[in-house]
């Protein structure tokens, strides 16, 4: 364990990258998921098809190959992204596709009665979406998003393969320096677990905030 302590700053640097990347790509994924999920439940065929293609493509292909493509192929097309931009974009697109399905199914689960009431009050489509559907659907989405967020955090380890010095990258380089793979990997696993637990508890808190006032008997 003295060994681990010696490399604590390498671990910390890795954690910083992993967390930064998780937050950035989760934010991008959230926006994409909502846009694509809303488009998928739209009345307009064009929007449904476009978002369908996006979802099927990005959840049906390997995330690692997507990252490689952004990292190695895009430069040939004249688009030069930094490794961080590649990683954020790659993970964001991929998890946005998973998230879009969550958004779509939760939007469809909003009771028809709510939509009738909104129509009877003459809300426009976007007002209905903003005032009625999304607040309602968001609560249903939280446990599912929580799952996806943890998946995403673990998937960030892929970015070590496109030169980003994240937690996995650091672990590997510490191993090559120390030849002590068992201990280093054990600590690495523990760190991922801690990050995931923190993320899950954050999501639970968000869920509670969003569903305030829903519990019967709770003072307003």
């Amino acid at each position: 364990m003295a060994l681990i302590w010696e490399y604590r700053f390498d671990f910390l640097a890795g954690v910083w990258w992993t967390v930064k990347l998780s937050v950035l790509s989760a934010l991008l994924a959230l926006v994409l998921a909502i846009v694509a999920g809303v488009a998928r439940s739209s009345k307009l065929r064009v929007l449904r098809i476009a978002s369908g293609v996006y979802v099927e493509f990005f959840r049906g292909t390997s995330a690692l190959v997507q990252l490689f493509w952004l990292f190695y192929v895009l430069p040939y097309l004249g688009i030069d992204l930094t490794p961080l931009q590649c990683a954020t974009l790659g993970l964001g697109l991929c998890f946005g596709a998973y998230g879009a399905e969550v958004v779509r199914s939760c939007i469809q689960a909003v009771p028809q009665g709510q939509l009738d009431a909104a129509a009877a009050l003459n809300f426009s489509y976007f007002q209905t979406l903003r005032i009625v559907i999304l607040p309602e659907a968001l609560i249903m989405m939280m446990p599912l998003f929580s799952n996806l967020l943890i998946e995403l955090i673990k998937a960030t380890s892929l970015v070590s393969l496109i030169t980003i010095p994240d937690l996995t990258f650091q672990a590997k380089s510490i191993i090559t320096k120390t030849y002590s793979s068992g201990n280093v990997l054990l600590v690495t696993l523990a760190i991922y677990l801690v990050i995931s637990l923190i993320a899950a508890s954050f999501m639970r808190r968000m869920e509670k905030v969003l569903s305030r006032g829903r519990q019967t008997g709770q003072p307003a």
Partner: protein, 256 residues
């Protein structure tokens, strides 16, 4: 008196099921009509058509002399554009059996939402109007309560205030007291009765609770199989029904 609601030979089908069959119906401005009848008789569909939540297959429906639906052979002669539906819906308010309050908004928020976003009032104006309406339905002390913390009767009173917030000319009540505990029916009925005193407000109540019809209506229609079989004063329909089907229905309701 001018007609507020007119149905001219309206057909409405869901697949093979005929819901409205050459349906003729007129309600004068300010009239309070109750529609009674067994479930599946097309009562709720009738209200949903007036609220423009449902279209028709054939015939004509007008509100306040303005055509809402006009269809022949399943084709709409008046295009149900968003603008047309919004124009027509502004005449009508509706109260649902299951309240359908927005659970993420307080009582005040539920009532203020439409004045704020649909009429474009300021937040303060919308909330002032909402607070006044909630006071009218006896809920001044519940403004900040979320629906989940209100009883069924209280939720339905919020829903009535919410529908009134857009100052409709026609109010529709779809089995508004049917989902309530019996001891909660009275408080909602009292609010509905107060509305029934507004001379110019046209009210159509769909119910299978005879007490509700008696309390609100100055005219009762008995509906079955997509048609109105009997139409008269509460006194006549409830005490001396002429139609055999009406008599059978009233006997069944009294037994339950």
């Amino acid at each position: 008196m001018s007609d507020m609601i007119t149905f001219d030979k309206v057909d409405k089908r869901f697949g093979q099921t005929v819901v409205l069959d050459q349906f003729d119906f007129r309600v004068a401005r300010g009239e309070k009509v109750a529609i009674i009848g067994p479930s599946g008789s097309g009562k709720s569909t009738l209200l949903r058509i007036i609220m423009a939540l449902q279209d028709i297959d054939q015939g004509k429906v007008s509100l306040d002399g303005r055509p809402l639906w006009d269809a022949a052979g399943g084709k709409h002669r008046i295009k149900p554009t968003r603008k047309h539906l919004r124009d027509m819906r502004s005449l009508v308010g509706m109260v649902f059996q299951n309240f359908n309050l927005f659970p993420n908004l307080t009582a005040l928020g539920n009532v203020a939402a439409a004045p704020r976003h649909v009429l474009g009032l300021s937040q303060a104006e919308a909330e002032a109007r909402a607070a006044a309406l909630l006071a009218q339905v006896g809920l001044s002390d519940k403004l900040q309560n979320y629906p989940a913390t209100l009883s069924g009767g209280q939720q339905q009173r919020v829903a009535i205030a919410r529908a009134m917030a857009l100052e409709p000319e026609i109010m529709l009540f779809d089995e508004a007291t049917s989902a309530l505990d019996p001891e909660r029916v009275g408080e909602v009925l009292e609010v509905m009765r107060a509305l029934a005193h507004e001379r110019d407000l046209t009210i159509v109540v769909v119910t299978h609770q005879i007490g509700v019809a008696r309390a609100i209506a100055d005219r009762i229609c008995f509906m079955e199989g997509g048609r109105i079989l009997e139409d008269g004063t509460p006194q006549q329909i409830l005490n001396e029904p002429r139609n055999e089907r009406t008599r059978a229905f009233l006997r069944a309701v009294h037994l339950s």
